[in-house]
Symmetry: C2
């Protein structure tokens, strides 16, 4: 395996990767530097802007490794046009997010925060607690990528009927029992509706006013995907009606007034962005990050962004 001459690290620091991961990266280059140097042939970045100008400032550059799933901050089209390979880390948090999706659904169904509180206060009666089951319900999934597939599999194990809409059909999950339907049908018939779409321009606002008005009374709407997918004004109006529950975990990516608007309703549950925080996801993310670099050096580039 060939090596890089100089790896330039930008947008993150020593502490963002474990020491054993840095050790592996150091083996892949003569030098790893954290200060700008024009002769780097490998650039590692995270959420920082890598634009034309920056790319042009590194004439030796062959490879950009992004320590994230999102690639919107890197002008990868320009990089590609100059023969530079760009790789990201898709899917490292698949299991973490799929498990989190069921964690927050079940927490809501069973009213666990209150249950823990009353038990801590010495009330062991169980009075006033009721719940519904996932089993037998219609579980709608919008977006059947990696996470959507895992959520579908787990929902079916719970005994739910899974219906989905996605930009492309997934035979694998249909063979297991998931049913493809129109977006409108999935939205309007679901007892549980979970979004698992990436944020891309043409999907913004895809859950529009008409669809939000069509949501079933008593249903639970879960969004661990970007909030740009949803018409927030329509969502707020529906929450005001009080006959749906909305659970989300990306208040950090919204403007604060929107968060306040939604979370004033009792039937809106807000979490911090912790869907992807498992130790396993952290390890997998770093493994893929290093494997991407190694694969490029072996001329078998992986997880290319183009």
């Amino acid at each position: 395996m060939t090596k890089f001459n100089k790896i330039l690290v930008t947008g993150f620091s020593q502490s963002n990767l474990d020491e054993n991961v840095w050790a592996k990266i150091r083996e892949l280059a003569d030098e790893v530097v954290f200060e700008f140097t024009p002769d780097a042939d490998c650039l590692l970045s995270r959420f920082n802007k890598i634009d034309k100008e920056f790319i042009n400032s590194l004439p030796q550059l062959k490879y950009i490794g992004i320590l994230a799933t999102g690639s919107a901050t890197v002008d990868y089209e320009y990089a590609n046009s100059k023969g530079i390979v760009v790789s990201n880390i898709p899917g490292y948090a698949t299991e973490s997010v799929a498990e989190f999706t069921f964690a927050i659904i079940l927490e809501n169904l069973r009213n666990l925060k209150k249950a823990k509180q009353v038990a801590r206060d010495g009330d062991f009666s169980g009075d006033g607690f009721s719940a519904t089951e996932i089993k037998g319900k219609t579980f709608g999934i919008i977006g059947m990528g990696r996470i959507g597939v895992r959520v579908a599999e787990i929902a079916m194990a719970f005994g739910a009927k899974v219906v989905y809409w996605s930009r492309s059909r997934k035979e694998e999950i249909e063979a297991k029992g998931a049913k493809y339907e129109s977006l409108d049908n999935v939205v309007s018939k679901s007892d549980f509706l979970s979004l698992h779409l990436n944020r891309v321009k043409e999907l913004e606002g895809i859950i529009d006013e008409q669809q939000i008005k069509s949501l079933k009374s008593g249903m639970v709407f879960i969004n661990v995907a970007p909030m740009e997918l949803i018409n927030l004004t329509a969502l707020e109006n529906q929450l005001k009606e009080g006959d749906i529950t909305f659970i989300f975990d990306h208040p950090d990516e919204m403007n604060p007034e929107d968060v306040t608007k939604l979370s004033q309703y009792k039937n809106c549950v807000v979490y911090p962005p912790i869907g992807f925080v498992t130790k396993e996801a952290r390890v997998l993310k770093q493994d893929i990050f290093v494997a991407n670099i190694e694969n490029f050096l072996r001329e078998k580039a992986s997880n290319r962004v183009s």
Copy 2:
């Protein structure tokens, strides 16, 4: 279908069954009474004591229907010896309890109570949250009855390796990938260990001191079954060590000092008894209760206790 002359209801009242269920029961007898009458030929009970003397006080008695899973309060052996059929309601809360088991596991893994709290307080950073996944872990199940089977199926969908011990092996779940092992092995190798045994005399204290000492560091021990299965002194000592987490939901059936002893530890999570409270379980329970009576009248008695 024949009818009963008189149905005597004891140990519960009008409010314990829905009105449409009472309507069905009234069709199964000339009369339904709530005050003792010696000429009843059908007795409905719940948690109340039905002993020899009470059985002898009803010389026409042919059938006892228990509105519960537990039958320990009814002297069913004596009843059977007099040709009286006794039926109970096993399994009505299977799904409810299986879903609850994952609800409380995931709540713990993701620290959801705290997460909801910090988000309500406006902290959307996610700082300080970490978690582990169910996927890839060893999930031990003690007791492979109805609930154990459902917990096993769901655990496998989450990607766990399921090992189990039960008084009898269950081929059905082994065919799906669960592995039968000795009780000691299941206890000592599990990252998650969940008890799903009924309370019967010979199983009391089955999770003994030696087994509790063998629990893996960092593991999560869940008990939604009776606490009599566990040596509580050994459990308290292990909680004091701080390297396991224990989650349970039947503080109501324990003496208060034992609850206090366990729940003083941060790594002990206590819930009220809400595993079985779903609306679906309530409906199913009542359906089985009525079906048991009808089946007896059709000479096809169901769910007999003997």
